[in-house]
């Protein structure tokens, strides 16, 4: 079976600014991946290159085994995209927008569209230009879900929504999307939402996917260990995320350890071991 997303050596720069640098990335079918990175790290650029909305300088992107710049109509119909913000179709009403898009797809779930329009209290006949940013975002989500895509790509899907709106969106994702084994890739800054739904997290840093791991194992295997330099250097982590010297002259590493090593470490009385939350991991990994 063809992977929903396979990227090899993707590079993209704007003028002198290199945004993506020889980036490799693979997403397996059925995974729910949260894409994290600091402001300006290039998350939107990556998403746009991945969908063939932007030309890259080099590298290849394949969606379901096809070159993203030459997707067949059948493959396009398997993909749904929610942009960060959209200033398109401002003069249409939601009714006209849905009618327009429905014509492109062989599959279109009218029941779902009507239900979400009603549940999210969107007006059918108001011009889109007059909707609030939150309403536009909801509309964009409904449009992307309507043809029941197998790959759903969302760029900051909840940035304009209040906490209640985000929760409703998450419920929809849980209920209608994850249930159908859809592959979902979404960028976000809201770590609490990501924690609730993502199975994997990918960190974009310096133009590359610096780390991608199941969220559970990321939280369980990563520890901050503090002790004397000699002691800490004698450890055998399988991955070091960060290492620094504290004000007290101790050495402190943020690292991942195998289960057996961890048990040994926890028995040690001279090392200080602390677990870390996702927010701190985000700060350290993207530093």
């Amino acid at each position: 079976m063809n992977m929903p997303i396979r990227i090899r050596g993707l590079s993209k720069s704007f003028g002198k600014q290199q945004v993506l640098q020889q980036l490799d990335w693979e997403i397996e079918a059925g995974s729910i991946v949260g894409l994290l990175g600091r402001n300006g790290a290039g998350k939107s650029t990556l998403i746009e290159c991945l969908l063939g909305l932007r030309d890259a300088q080099s590298g290849s992107v394949q969606l379901f085994g096809e070159d993203t710049l030459r997707l067949s109509e059948a493959t396009k119909a398997r993909i749904g995209y929610v942009p960060q913000s959209s200033e398109l179709f401002q003069w249409l009403t939601p009714r006209q927008l849905m009618d327009y898009f429905r014509a492109f797809y062989t599959r279109w779930n009218d029941v779902k569209v009507n239900e979400l329009m009603r549940r999210w209290e969107l007006p059918w006949t108001q011009t889109i230009g007059k909707l609030s940013p939150g309403q536009k975002q909801r509309l964009s989500i409904i449009r992307a879900l309507a043809h029941e895509p197998e790959l759903l790509v969302l760029d900051e899907p909840v940035s304009s929504l209040d906490p209640a709106g985000r929760r409703e969106f998450l419920s929809e994702l849980v209920d209608g999307v994850i249930d159908r084994k859809t592959t979902v890739v979404f960028s976000t800054h809201i770590l609490s939402d990501l924690e609730r739904v993502a199975m994997d997290v990918a960190f974009l840093k310096d133009g590359k996917i610096a780390l991608q791991q199941p969220l559970d194992s990321l939280l369980e295997a990563t520890w901050r260990v503090t002790g004397s330099q000699a002691q800490v250097e004698a450890l055998s982590p399988r991955l070091v995320l960060r290492s620094q010297v504290t004000r007290q002259g101790e050495t402190c590493v943020l690292a991942q350890f195998d289960e057996a090593v961890l048990q040994e470490l926890q028995a040690s009385t001279s090392l200080r071991m602390e677990r870390v939350a996702l927010e701190e991991l985000f700060i350290e990994v993207t530093r």
């Binding site: 729910i32 929760r167 998450l170 419920s171 849980v174 209920d175 994850i178 249930d179 770590l191 609490s192 924690e195 609730r196 739904v197 993502a198 199975m199 969220l215 559970d216 939280l219 369980e220 200080r272 602390e274 677990r275 870390v276 939350a277 996702l278 927010e279």
Partner: protein, 136 residues
């Protein structure tokens, strides 16, 4: 056979922003409820989907917690009835198991004590005092 008591999905809850993965939070809550006798053998767990919707979490996470608890013998899968609280093998969980349930809270205390530059001795003394008090 009596109709099993149906446990509500909102007996579970999750906290985000901590270091405990959500599936572990769910497991520990259920283990504590079993240990404390809040739920008893034969009670029916809410379905994976109900919990996922009520808590706004990924159904795969709920399913992972249920499966691991099943492997531990805390829950059992009964055809046509979903997940039930299993007949517990021993009357009470071992001291080690109960101690492990305290671990997350104690880890937080250890971290806070360190931030406050308190060594273990006075913290343990305080804990001992508090526990004496609660013995009544």
């Amino acid at each position: 056979m009596p109709e099993p008591r149906q446990l509500p999905a909102d007996m579970l809850h999750v906290n985000t922003g901590g270091h405990e993965p959500i599936y572990r939070q769910l497991m520990m809550q259920l283990q504590r409820m079993v240990a404390a006798g809040q739920v008893s053998s034969g009670d029916a767990l809410p379905s994976v989907r109900e919990v996922a919707l009520a808590l706004g979490v990924n159904p795969m996470t709920v399913s992972k917690a249920y499966s691991l608890l099943e492997a531990q013998g805390v829950l059992e899968r009964r055809r046509g009835m979903g997940m039930l609280v299993a007949a517990q093998s021993s009357a009470a969980p071992s001291q080690m198991e109960r101690l492990n349930m305290l671990r997350p809270g104690l880890e937080r205390i250890a971290q806070e004590a360190h931030q406050l530059e308190l060594s273990a001795t006075p913290v343990i003394a305080l804990l001992r005092n508090l526990m004496k008090g609660s013995q009544g």
